[in-house]
Symmetry: C2
DNA sequence: TCATGATATTATTATATCCTTATTTCCTCA
DNA sequence: TGAGGAAATAAGGATATAATAATATCATGA
């Protein structure tokens, strides 16, 4: 009866995963960006993302060479409410706003317009 | 930054503890009642209660020979909202409603009126 | 199709978690 | 004050978790 919710909460019960969710609440991000912003190795980030995907908190989509992760829009209301209030470090927000490596690269490589914000508004398929 | 919340969620990340919180959302209960309703030993129940107390989800108070546990009323809003929606097995609800061992004993022993419901409405000190 | 870079998986280790049994502590009340 | 019951703590073992390093997979573009 409580198995599903205990799994969801275990997924939230780790500082690194909360950090990831906070970052994704600012904008979608690819794995390499998360690796830059988090104090753990790339495999560790991958494993955390897998866990977050298993419980249905994030989805992934491929953009050029990069795998982007995004918060799902069909989160349980309690979880969605929590993530809305989740604080994000100012330094993280500014990094994501300015130093957008992968998004810049993607935008350049596909020769699209200078509006790279379209990458941030992907809807859940 | 995320330490406090990850600890709270780790406390919720266990089926037995969610079960306990569900029971306490019906009414306050003493440890021996929880032991009867849960499929684990008395020390295990005590340890779960300690963890729930450490993160501020429950409080304890003594009533005669028994230690009662109750949900705190100053929970973080997200947690309070979750607990309001948390389902409780019908069998648990009926056990707590009818087979109220410790409360009956306490009421009898202190020779009080037949209204044992006062025990259920303790406010947080 | 092959090389490359991005991500995922595997193997391993250290630590944390959760259970049990045994024991101790702490109230209550005779 | 001391006997008895209720609950907490301690000790120990099995499993889960989270990190790393090493390796494998996979998509892209030349």
């Amino acid at each position: 009866m409580y198995k599903e919710w205990s799994e969801r909460f275990r997924a939230l019960g780790d500082g690194t995963r909360l950090h990831i969710l906070g970052l994704l609440s600012v904008r979608d991000a690819c794995v390499c960006e998360l690796v830059e912003l988090l104090p753990v190795s790339q495999p560790a980030v991958s494993q955390h993302l897998r866990k977050l995907k298993q419980v249905g908190f994030v989805r992934e989509y491929r953009q050029k060479s990069w795998v982007f992760y995004a918060l799902r829009t069909d989160l349980p209301p309690v979880i969605a409410a929590f993530l809305r209030d989740l604080p994000v470090a100012e330094s993280d927000v500014s990094w994501l706003s300015t130093h957008q490596v992968a998004i810049s690269c993607a935008a350049m490589e596909e020769g699209s317009s200078t509006d790279s914000s379209s990458l941030l508004t992907k809807s859940l398929t």
